[in-house]
């Protein structure tokens, strides 16, 4: 009754091809944006912004990137941690070498560098598929981390191999470094994520996105109808790595502030982002957000309920949390193998028919 397109007539091609053709969708998106930018920063304290929302947004960006590659183009990648490290180390070197360029261009630039590295490691995808490709990207993960841990140039020959983000400002607000303004950080990351989520949504439904999906669904058929696998696969690797690189740059420079490659970007990072898109929903922009939310928020939520709510012993709570998150993942996947985004789609269908389900 509330949610349906009846009565919304399209009188031009533009309106028919709009990103969100249904009016209610546009209102919801607008509402989300207003809440994100207008309400949230004033409402929440530093703990919420720094410990919950920043990682959620940054992981959502990384999940978007991986979703482009795995969800839309069907290429399984276990190299996310490595590519995030490329973004982080690029932005670190750039921040040291060219601080005058400004932080936002440097993040974009480190995304571009990661895109090049990603495309390079995407080359094997032209020959190998499926699990074998996963192994090739796993090699990228281990190689990149080894490289950043081994070669002193990347971490400016720091005695401990750690990188620290120097202070930088955006529009006069300190974003990185210890003095960084929390609200400023939030706005910057939220802007990046909102903007690039929009770009992803657009890419996915355009010609490039359709090429990717054709490759994903059946690459030989796609080739026969004129999709060039070389371009499609490598562009998916490049665009995906661009997103992941930016996420890595923000992850290091804005959120963590300092990082060591072996811990911050290890293989668990790759799995975490992969779980996010599997749980959230492959091939869905919304799914990337839902998955990131689930994997970032759920453990913290459980911990806070148990420790602050019931006064459970911290160690016991940690064990229960591991079990619960595992059970929830399995549970969700049994109930809905296509992820949370699919649940949302079903819900939408239901709302559309409500109150007359037949």
């Amino acid at each position: 009754m509330i949610y349906r397109e009846t009565g919304q007539f399209k009188s031009s091609y533009e309106s028919d091809q709009a990103l969100f053709p249904i009016k209610q969708d546009r209102y919801v998106i607008l509402g989300v944006l207003i809440v994100t930018f207008g309400v949230v920063p004033g409402l929440l304290n530093e703990y919420w912004l720094n410990a919950i929302l920043l990682p959620f947004l940054i992981y959502a960006l990384a999940a978007l990137g991986l979703n482009i590659l795995t969800g839309y183009c069907g290429q399984v990648s276990l190299g996310t941690g490595g590519f995030m490290a490329v973004g982080a180390f690029s932005v670190y070197k750039l921040m040291i070498a060219f601080p005058e360029l400004g932080f936002i261009p440097l993040v974009l630039l480190s995304g571009v560098i990661t895109a090049a590295v990603g495309a390079l490691f995407g080359l094997p995808s032209l020959r190998i598929k499926g699990f074998y490709l996963a192994v090739a990207t796993l090699a990228a993960q281990f190689f990149l981390i080894w490289l950043f841990n081994k070669v002193g140039w990347f971490f400016n020959y720091n005695a401990s191999g750690m990188i620290n983000s120097p202070p930088m400002t955006v529009f006069g607000v300190i974003i990185t470094g210890p003095e960084g303004d929390m609200t400023g950080k939030y706005y910057l990351v939220a802007t990046f994520v909102a903007l690039f989520a929009l770009v992803a949504k657009n890419l996915a439904r355009g010609r490039i996105g359709r090429n990717w999906m054709a490759i994903r669904d059946m690459d030989i058929a796609a080739e026969l109808i004129g999709v060039r696998p070389l371009i499609a696969k490598l562009s998916a690797f490049a665009v995906s790595s661009f997103y992941i690189g930016m996420a890595g740059a923000l992850y290091f420079a804005v959120w963590l502030g300092s990082a060591e490659p072996t811990e911050a970007f290890d293989i668990n990072q790759s799995f975490l982002v992969l779980f996010m898109i599997i749980i959230g929903g492959l091939g869905s922009v919304l799914g990337s957000f839902l998955g990131a939310g689930f994997m970032v928020l759920m453990p913290i939520l459980l911990k806070n309920i148990m420790v602050d709510g019931f006064g459970t012993d911290a160690a016991l709570a940690a064990h229960i949390e591991i079990i619960t998150v595992g059970v929830l993942i399995i549970g969700f996947l049994i109930v809905e193998p296509h992820g949370l985004a699919r649940l949302w789609r079903i819900a939408k269908e239901k709302i559309r028919l409500w109150p007359f389900p037949h």
Partner: protein, 439 residues
């Protein structure tokens, strides 16, 4: 507890999350404890957290806290993971009326995260014998304390010990010393110092990294077997230690020429290797064993009341004592801060003053029920690493106990001091810190 009540509490907990302020009755001293009782390093994290918590609980039970103010120990589980550690920090820093008074981050990664945050939030970080070595320079790192000694002090003490055993520092020439290290920020800390020392004394320095978590070390020890270094030093942690000791035993490397850092010298590390670990050495800055009067008080006031965090018969293990000594220095710093500011209502910013005026000498240690337990520590505005003295302890596999086998050595300050000055200056430059003026 029924479901409805559970749900209600869960909802209340959720609602309370953003507020984070409890209703305090009396002024309590909030001391967060970043434990890691889960994850790959849990066997080492548990005894430390027990020692830390038991000592503070004992103060609460015996003396009613510090100068009459109760301590509120807030445990938060990090699993030795940096991101969770940061979440814990953000979650606990505003806890209670006092706010968090001091952090003991317990992992190099978390310490590096907290160093810049501490100066903004004005909460001191006490990274006891770990973390960033150049934090010893209190002018650049006013909020970080890493006494009683740093990794660099320790590395030079090992070199001194080796020199002594070889019959003089000049005998080090031409010797070969290998470092088996955890391939992370923590493990890399001593490399630069050892390189300097190698230059100065003319020994050959061999680096053998071991990747996290360190279960696979066959190739490392094969290299040791081929290269036959005269001495092996180890910067290991968690499961890596036990594996290394077992591997060393399997290639019949002489254990009394194998020295671990103080994080590689606990019961957990040597017991799995059995008799083969006999004679293994490690650094130490406090005594092992559970027969000090303070331990008796912990048994009497904490364990007899059933409030102990761990098992009674594990009191006095090396890492338990390490947690205990950390709690002792922390509580002394808080006491000092109360004296300086003449109030019990102190905050983190005051505790830093307490740390900078900390002076725990032998007489005070005896008063605290820990006579001869550790070295006297005196901290000043510019010196945050304290005495820097390190002793060596040796494992006796038959008696199954550690004992100190050497006195406390002075570090080779001619090597460490310039390195600290250089590294802290680089940090100051990169992060735009203006070194403060002391005194």
């Amino acid at each position: 507890m029924n479901i409805a009540k559970l749900t209600r509490q869960a909802v209340l907990a959720l609602l309370a999350m953003p507020l984070l302020s409890g209703v305090a009755t009396a002024y309590e001293l909030t001391i967060p404890s970043l434990d890691y009782r889960t994850g790959p390093y849990a066997p080492n994290g548990i005894p430390f957290a027990n020692g830390y918590g038991d000592y503070l609980h004992m103060l609460n039970e015996r003396d009613g806290g510090i100068n009459g103010s109760k301590i509120n120990l807030v445990a938060c589980e990090t699993a030795y993971n940096t991101k969770r550690g940061v979440e814990c920090y953000e979650n606990t820093k505003g806890e209670g009326e006092s706010g968090a008074l001091v952090y003991q981050p317990l992992s190099t990664g978390i310490t590096y995260q907290l160093i810049p945050k501490s100066s903004v939030d004005r909460i001191p970080v006490f990274s006891m014998g770990y973390g960033r070595t150049s934090a010893a320079n209190g002018k650049v790192f006013p909020w970080v304390f890493n006494f009683p000694a740093t990794y660099w002090d320790q590395a030079t003490v090992f070199i001194r010990y080796i020199g002594e055993k070889e019959g003089g520092m000049d005998k080090l020439k031409g010797k070969k010393i290998a470092l088996v290290y955890h391939n992370s920020a923590y493990g890399k800390e001593p490399i630069r110092t050892l390189e300097k020392a190698a230059e100065q004394y003319g020994f050959e320095f061999l680096q053998l990294p071991v990747d996290h978590p360190g279960q696979e070390q066959k190739s490392t020890w094969l290299q040791v077997r081929q290269e036959r270094p005269d001495w092996v030093l180890m910067w290991g942690w968690g499961v890596m230690n036990q594996v290394a000791i077992k591997e060393a035993a399997s290639i019949r490397y002489p254990m009394d020429h194998f020295i671990g850092v103080w994080w590689s010298g606990s019961e957990n590390d040597v017991l799995p290797a059995g008799d083969a670990a006999h004679g293994y050495l490690s650094g130490a800055f406090h005594q092992p064993g559970g027969n000090f009067p303070a331990h008796d008080d912990i048994r009497k006031y904490v364990y007899d009341k059933g409030m102990g965090l761990g098992e009674r018969d594990r009191i006095g293990e090396v890492l338990y004592n390490r947690g205990l000594v950390a709690a002792m220095w922390t509580s002394e710093a808080i006491r000092k801060a109360m004296e300086i500011h003449k109030t019990n209502k102190i905050k983190g910013v005051h505790v830093r003053d307490g740390f900078e005026a900390l002076d725990v000498d032998e007489a005070r240690l005896t008063e605290l029920g820990l006579p001869g337990f550790t070295i006297p520590v005196k901290i000043t505005c510019e010196n945050h690493e304290g005495p820097g003295k390190v002793a060596l302890q040796q494992w006796d596999a038959k008696a199954q106990k550690w004992s100190l086998v050497s006195g406390f050595y002075e570090p080779l300050r001619d090597i460490t001091a310039p390195l600290i000055a250089e590294d802290s200056a680089q940090y100051a430059k990169e992060n735009g810190v203006v070194p403060r003026i002391c005194g």
